[in-house]
């Protein structure tokens, strides 16, 4: 009871104020013309603030004035489900028509219009989805700006809001008029619909106002639903664009259908089971969402484009008719009551409002609505919480598939929220419809500014709460509501910004994920390589450790380890210890032991084994060493190092050395190792010494031999080749006699063989061989009983260039000359020999032996002297040849010079012929020059003489001509005389003839007359 008077007071005060303000505005407006002017100004213009999309702020500038028609266009585009909601509203109109006797034709006409509207909305939706994602962001930004503008405009003036709402009502009615004017049977409804002011309390207009209010309610609810749908579409499109952009257009159709079904079910159940409706609808939405996620694109296409779904829509449209009929009956009853007593109605209406309010307070749908609002809040909070960790997960995870799977439940959550919001909206609609007309009027007054806030769901819900609970709750509660609205509005702003930023974050995260994936792939490759390198290093270290272990074991067992090339540094540290071990085992007193220190380590081990152990021990050690080599080969093959292979080969040879016990074999193997591998590590002092000795002994000798052979061959070959080349060149010329040089070596030998005696041996021809033969004769007995001197060198004896190719041809003149010289030289030498024989003390027998070339009775020194004498003889002969050659060369050079000189002269003469033109030009030039004084005088004199001669000749000629003329004249005169005489004779003869003719003619006449 204490609660009731407070509520009454508050409600009374608000109602009175509202009524008074309305009445005052209506009363004070005065004539209708002034009121129409005010409406026109608010009707056409709105204030729009500019929004900076890049910085996410509203610019501090004067707002721009725009026409309100633009907002309708934008809302129409953004609200594709308005057509669907119009379906529910149109049955009310159709029901009224049926009451007044409407037929089936009216239904079909209305349905056709509605269906066309739905199609347009769907096509617009499709068109929006096909656009680029950038355009979607633009739409989102525009919607946010509009929402903020309207929220800001509220606290300025309530009256402006009221007039704005009225304008919107007019717009909504304009849409309905186009539909209703088509039906002329109901003129009253047309008259009532044309009026724009719903606040009039005239009895005759109450019914029309109620209809308008109901239409307005549905319109606002449609807008809200449409806004939600757009948000869904944006989210769905952004996600589906990544996956299947073609099929993304199909999703919203299915969602619309399911949502519509949920609305129908709620209406059927009415107020008895709203909680059950909530429970039932939620899993349906979840199931549908989950199925939609996992369905194939073909199934989605089939569902979206299937014909039966259209039939389902038609069936669903039929259901609300019954509800509308009941509402209209209630309204009509109220109208009847109002007609009887206006004053009583006013008094009665007020308590009815209060009663209805109190009833609505305790009715279940309001409680349900409250609980539903709370649920929405919790769900929204859950959505927000889920969004942020999803973003974090996206950052952490590298795989795109995981990101895609994680983003799916966000969509499902959003869809669930959308379904719940739709249910809430339906509940609100039901509550509004069932209230009394007076209550509806009051609700409309306070709800209309809320409907202006078209945008986020939170704003609408909060405003509805404040309006509903403001009438019924105490002052304290209203203040609390007022305070709550502010943070909610802030939340709205943040949510819109968060949505925009979240989308940007998703894009940024996607790009980051891509870059991270690329980096991860690169890093993975690098890591693989590094891992391989690390494994190789580990293998190398392992092998090195094994080697060290083996070394330690070998040191412990007083054995020399096999050392690798790569471990030369460790060798230096190990050698002293190895030497120490080896020296410890040996006896210092023995010389052989001391000598063994200088040998290789392998040799020391062999000697130790041979001295200390038996052959069995040797075999065992060799087997162990082979095992070691085997392990090393395996390791080296794994590491695939060329250096290791090189050392492996060295170790093979060292293994051979170990197996061989004999010292000689070891020495030979050392030499072989030295020759094969100069860089072996296990070189000992003895090896070095031997190698040095060998190199010192052999290499100079070989080099010297090679050099001597090359020099001798080079000299001879150069001379011979040049000589032969010249001969071959000469043979190419036919006009010149030449000598053949193709087979000069053979020619020389052939000539020598022809010169030699048949009893001589061919093996004794070589000149360098004579000392060896002499030495053999000294040491050994001669092979034949007679010792004979060797032949002379054929190259010396034969003068090749003086010998012609063809023996049949005449000898060359130079050859003949050389023969004469030889003969003369023979004579001289013979005289010399005779003189020596006379003075010499030698016996005649020796002299004869010299002549016969028998050296048997000569002593060794004498034979050597004779051999040297033969060489001296060759030298003398060569000197003779050289002298002759030099003389001939000089002669040939002189001849060449003479020939060249003569040829040059003749060439010059011939060259002079080419200069003839030049000489001729010079002559012409000289002739063109002016003559000298003497020459000019001479020229003039000659000219005068010649002119005189010419004159004389002319005169002479004239004289001759004159004489000839005179003679001719005389002859002419004579001839003329003669001609005259002849003419006279001729005339006389003619006269005679004439006379005779006359006579004859006379005679003839006489005869004729006779």
């Amino acid at each position: 009871m204490s609660m009731e008077p407070r509520k009454k007071r508050n409600s009374i005060l608000k109602v009175r104020q509202a009524v008074e303000t309305i009445e005052e505005t209506v009363m004070n407006s005065g004539p209708s013309s002034t009121t129409t002017n005010r409406r026109v100004s608010f009707h056409n213009v709105k204030h729009v603030k500019q929004y900076d999309r890049d910085h996410g702020k509203i610019l501090d500038a004067t707002p721009v004035k725009e026409k309100i028609t633009d907002t309708i266009g934008s809302d129409g585009i953004l609200t594709p489900r308005g057509g669907n909601m119009d379906i529910s509203e149109s049955p009310a109109c159709t029901s009224s028509f049926q009451v007044f006797g409407g037929g089936n034709l009216d239904k079909t006409m209305d349905m056709s219009l509605e269906t066309t509207i739905n199609e347009n909305n769907e096509t617009a939706r499709l068109f929006e989805t096909t656009r680029d994602p950038t355009l979607l962001y633009e739409k989102i930004v525009e919607t946010t700006t509009k929402v903020t503008e309207r929220i800001v405009s509220m606290p300025l003036d309530d009256t402006l809001a009221m007039f704005n709402t009225t304008n919107q009502e007019d717009k909504d009615m304009s849409v309905d008029r186009s539909v209703l004017f088509t039906i002329p049977k109901v003129p009253k409804h047309n008259a009532t619909m044309n009026r724009t002011i719903p606040m009039d309390l005239d009895e005759s207009k109450a019914a029309g106002g109620q209809c308008d209010e109901t239409m307005n309610v549905f319109n606002f609810t449609n807008l809200e639903a449409a806004e939600m749908d757009t948000s869904k579409l944006d989210e769905n499109n952004t996600m589906n664009a990544i996956r299947i952009p073609i099929n993304s257009n199909v999703m919203p159709v299915d969602m619309d259908i399911t949502e519509h079904h949920t609305l129908i079910e709620e209406k059927k159940n009415d107020t008895f089971g709203p909680s059950q409706l909530m429970d039932i609808s939620a899993p349906q939405v979840q199931v549908n969402d989950t199925l939609a996620i996992f369905n194939s694109p073909r199934d989605i296409c089939n569902k979206g484009l299937g014909v039966p779904q259209n039939l389902i829509n038609i069936a669903s449209n039929v259901v609300p008719v019954d509800m509308d009929i009941t509402d209209q009956a209630v309204l009509n009853a109220e109208k009847k009551n109002d007609q009887f007593e206006t004053s009583q109605l006013m008094d009665i209406s007020i308590p009815k409002v209060l009663v209805n309010d109190t009833m609505a307070m305790f009715n279940s749908p309001k409680h349900v609505s409250k609980s539903s609002m709370d649920l929405e809040k919790t769900i929204e909070a859950a959505d927000k919480s889920t969004k942020y960790p999803s973003i974090a997960d996206e950052v952490e995870d590298l795989d795109m598939d995981m990101d895609i799977t994680e983003q799916q439940p966000c969509e499902a959550g959003n869809q669930q929220n959308d379904g719940l919001q739709l249910q809430k909206e339906d509940l609100m609609d039901i509550s509004v419809i069932r209230d009394s007309p007076a209550v509806n009027d009051t609700m409309a007054v306070f709800q209309s500014p809320a409907r202006v806030k078209i945008g986020a769901n939170n704003s609408i819900i909060d405003s509805q709460k404040s309006i509903v609970f403001g009438d019924e709750m105490s002052i304290d509660e209203t203040q609390n509501d007022g305070t709550l609205t502010l943070p909610k509005s802030n939340v709205e702003v943040t949510t819109t910004n968060d949505v925009y930023t979240s989308l940007e974050r998703q894009e940024e995260n996607a790009s980051e994920n891509v870059s991270m994936i690329n980096e991860s792939s690169v890093h993975s490759e690098i890591d693989k390589k590094s891992f391989m390198l690390i494994e190789e290093e580990r293998a190398f270290m392992h092998s090195s450790m094994i080697d060290v272990a083996q070394k330690l074991e070998d040191d412990g067992s007083s054995k020399t380890p096999v050392i690798l090339a790569s471990q030369s540094a460790s060798l230096a540290t190990k050698e002293p210890s190895a030497l120490h071990n080896s020296s410890a085992t040996l006896n210092n007193s023995m010389e052989l032991d001391n000598n063994t220190l200088l040998k290789t380590m392998q040799i020391t081990t062999c000697e130790d084994i041979s001295m200390v152990h038996e052959s069995i021990a040797v075999e065992l050690n060799s087997n162990k060493e082979q095992e070691q080599f085997g392990d090393e080969t395996l390791q080296k093959n794994d590491t695939s190092n060329t250096g290791a292979n090189f050392t492996f080969q060295g170790h093979n040879e060292t293994s051979q050395i170990m197996n061989n016990v004999d010292s000689e074999a070891v020495n030979t193997s050392k030499i072989s190792t030295y020759s094969a591998f100069n860089l072996s590590i296990n070189q000992s002092i003895s090896k070095r010494r031997r190698s040095l000795l060998n190199s010192a002994r052999e290499s100079p000798r070989r080099v010297a031999l090679e050099n001597s052979i090359m020099s001798m061959n080079g000299q001879t070959m150069e001379a011979l080749t040049e000589y032969r080349q010249n001969k071959t060149m000469q043979t190419s010329q036919d006009s010149m006699p030449s000598m053949s040089l193709n087979d000069s070596g053979r020619d020389i030998l052939a000539m020598n063989t022809s010169v030699r005696s048949p009893h001589l041996n061919s093996s004794k021809t070589a000149a360098p061989g004579t000392p060896s033969l002499m030495s053999q004769n000294v040491q050994l007995p001669p092979p034949s009983p007679q010792f004979e001197m060797p032949d002379f060198d054929p190259a010396v004896v034969n003068v090749v260039y003086l010998t012609s190719e063809d023996p049949s041809t005449e000898q060359h003149p130079e050859a003949l000359k050389f023969q004469r010289i030889v003969e003369n030289e023979k004579m001289k030498v013979q005289h010399e020999i005779d003189s020596l024989n006379s003075t010499n003390q030698l016996s005649a027998e020796k002299i004869d032996m010299l002549k016969t070339k028998e050296l048997l009775k000569f002593s060794h020194d004498e034979r050597e002297a004779i051999m040297i004498a033969r060489k001296d003889a060759e030298i003398k002969f060569l000197e003779l040849r050289l002298k002759f050659a030099l003389e001939k060369k000089i002669e040939s050079d002189q001849e060449i010079a003479e020939l060249e000189q003569g040829n040059s002269k003749m060439a010059e003469q011939l060259r002079g012929l080419d200069k003839m033109a030049v000489v001729q030009k010079e002559l012409e030039k000289l002739r063109s020059l002016p003559p000298s004084r003497e020459e000019s005088g001479k020229i003039r004199k000659e000219w005068m003489e010649m002119k005189q001669w010419e004159f004389d000749q002319k005169m002479k000629a004239l004289r001759n001509v004159r004489s000839n003329m005179i003679a001719l004249r005389s002859e002419k005169n004579a001839l003329e005389m003669k001609v005259a005489e002849e003419h006279e004779k001729f005339a006389q003869r003619n006269d005679l003839k004439k006379s005779r003719m006359l006579v004859f003619s006379k005679a003839v006449k006489k005869i004729v007359n006779f």
Partner: protein, 135 residues
């Protein structure tokens, strides 16, 4: 050429040198130095080089002779006499037209002189014809 003649000469050289050597073989051996073979080879090489040059000269001489014949043929077929006459005339004109004797006369007079000279030459030719005709 017959190598037997050369060999005969070599034998004679050997006898002469041997007789001289056998007088005192020991002294001869002491005086004779080693390396006779090398000396022989060296001289032989030198001789062959000279002989080779002789062969090249011989070839060159043959070529030059052929060239000489060709040049003589060309000179016989050419008009050297006319060239000699032209050169003689040139020399004479050059001698006459020395810079000291050259007169600086007018262009007109020079043209007149040239015309006179031409007429003189023409009349002289005519005179020759008439004289020949009279003969």
């Amino acid at each position: 050429m017959n190598p037997n003649h050369n060999e005969g000469l070599l034998e004679l050289y050997t006898q002469a040198i041997s007789l001289e050597a056998l007088k005192d073989a020991e002294q001869f051996l002491e005086n004779s130095l080693l390396g006779k073979d090398a000396q022989v080879e060296r001289l032989l090489a030198q001789v062959l080089i000279e002989e080779q040059q002789i062969e090249t000269n011989r070839k060159k001489i043959a070529q030059l002779r052929i060239e000489k014949e060709e040049l003589e043929f060309d000179c016989a077929n050419s008009d050297l006499k006319s060239l000699e006459q032209m050169q003689a005339e040139r020399d004479e004109l050059q001698r006459k037209c020395q810079p000291g004797q050259h007169t600086k006369s007018n262009h007109k007079s020079s043209e007149q002189l040239l015309r006179m000279k031409k007429e003189t030459d023409a009349l002289r030719a005519y005179m020759k014809k008439i004289s020949q005709f009279e003969d």
